[in-house]
Symmetry: C2
Subunit: 338 residues, 2 copies
Amino acid sequence: MLSERRLQVLRAIVQDYVGTEEPVGSKALTERHSLGVSPATVRNDMAALEDEGYIAQPHTSAGRIPTDKGYRLFVDKLAGVKPMTGPERKAIQNFLDGAVDLDDVVGRTVRLLAQLTRQVAVVQYPSLTRSTVRHVELLSLAPARVMLVLITDTGRVEQRMVDCPAPFGESSLADLRARLNSRIAARRFADVPQLVQDLPDAFENEDRGTVATVLSTLLETLVEETEERLMIGGTANLTRFGHDFPLTIRPILEALEEQVVLLKLLGEAGDSGMTVRIGHENAYEGLNSTSVVSVGYGSGGEAVAKLGVVGPTRMDYPGTMGAVRAVARYVGQILAES
Amino acid sequence: MLSERRLQVLRAIVQDYVGTEEPVGSKALTERHSLGVSPATVRNDMAALEDEGYIAQPHTSAGRIPTDKGYRLFVDKLAGVKPMTGPERKAIQNFLDGAVDLDDVVGRTVRLLAQLTRQVAVVQYPSLTRSTVRHVELLSLAPARVMLVLITDTGRVEQRMVDCPAPFGESSLADLRARLNSRIAARRFADVPQLVQDLPDAFENEDRGTVATVLSTLLETLVEETEERLMIGGTANLTRFGHDFPLTIRPILEALEEQVVLLKLLGEAGDSGMTVRIGHENAYEGLNSTSVVSVGYGSGGEAVAKLGVVGPTRMDYPGTMGAVRAVARYVGQILAES
DNA sequence: GCTGGCACTCACGCGCACAGAGTGCCAGGA
DNA sequence: TCCTGGCACTCTGTGCGCGTGAGTGCCAGC
């Protein structure tokens, strides 16, 4: 177990390094923080911290920089979440309040988050599988062609074309629409398959095929995980990343373009509370030099999707976590209102 | 007027520079291209080309690189559009054919274009103002709350909440829905305002306010230019940009995040045929070191939106133009089929 | 267990010389 | 008139050596 002072030294190293982006030495530390001891003592502590793997030197005779393990300890034990100030809260709320639809909410959120944290922001659209159905609409576009529109409680709209095996009359369509809505409106997506299972039985023989087709399209839409969408922003902040550019930034941009990677990234994060993944804790290799701070958000008590930021491991964790948490909270409120 | 050989020299310079990314000298030129003259002669031609502003030297005793003006001449007079090969065409078609909905079409297009050109791809969603209405749906979510869903011929769906001034009965709603659709279905958005102008008159006094509210929301949705959406991809290709990184790449990433800038960029491009904007020809300052190749695409003969790529002025123009044209053509076909 | 002192080790910046690529110009030849 | 070979010149990029300074590890003393 590390002594109290050594933890203080680690905290000071993290803070200074995050601020200056340069390896921090023992002398500078004692000058900028009132640790009450001499540089020599700090050196001993640093040697101990290095033995334990919390800090490292880029080369002999340079200062120390925190390792992933060091950041981990910092986040877990040494730093809290820095709450937003009153004006900041106000600004967040004002900025999000103007949104007109779901796309707009997500778009504003992503910009806001990127600006607040000066990092890359990622916001997942409210996930279909965790939402409830607000309404299903069926539109006849041609005798044997139906458009299925699904509206969720979070305002998300999905639509699909359905080619029917046989012509489908307006009255049958209205019937199906009514039955469908009465069964699944306000229900969670996960429960829908069971609820519509026996629906074809209620129809005439000739319509059963079509009803079954429509239903299977509906179910497909519900489960299709590939349709999880997300929006990213603030990629220009990557340019503030470090000195050794192209090599660092390239895999990150690539990762950010792969929605699958990002969704997995957010998916892996814990369901409740804020998750911080530091450096090599990220499964995806291209993100090994980044940290990801993510949290769930939702309209009610339950999280329907996640949002977060991707930045250098050398980031201001308390500030970032504070911003992420605050934004998630307000987005949840906005969604609940609409 | 430049002699034929000088044009050849310019063409050779552009080709070599695009290939090697390094200033090209007179000796290397004569070695790699059979110009039939000696380096000394080429040097004279180069001096002339430099006087005319087509090429420049980064510093004395370095080779020459093309200027924006040089690229312009190259694109206009010296190079054609390189057509896609048979297998390439096939691959494009296969890749786009699997799309399930509009988002998917646009998403695939953007990835395809980025991959083919190895540059940043930008694809605009089919614009509302140039499309026609396929269907308008009205859903009653609460007594005085209506959801308006607008479906376009290109498969795009927009939805808006409408808070009515007074409760609105199901039958009135159905009436409005039917009247609206009979009037505006298959009509161009631009014509809609006139077509619905006198619609409130057909309703009872008590409903008129609500009808007017719904209509105004509809019209807002139609004109709201801010809702022009687009998708970008291939930003990782920016890392291949040049040597002097952060400075070059930053403003580009910033520009790419500003949808407004991009929409303006595409909007400024000519409506018919392919447009190439080289370096300083781009109005937006951050893109002064890039070239933009864009073209309209559409389901019928008419363009409903644009797509293009953003890359370094030093790009393979014939190849890029070929890819952009081919992709636009196939996307048009896909849209026409759905 | 903390402190001051001391020797040691590198990375970094600077000056310098050198090689190599490329140019401009000029005089001679088709 | 136009092309060509030759020549002197101008730069940039690179490698080398050296001094500087920040920072370390270790040790003896308090």
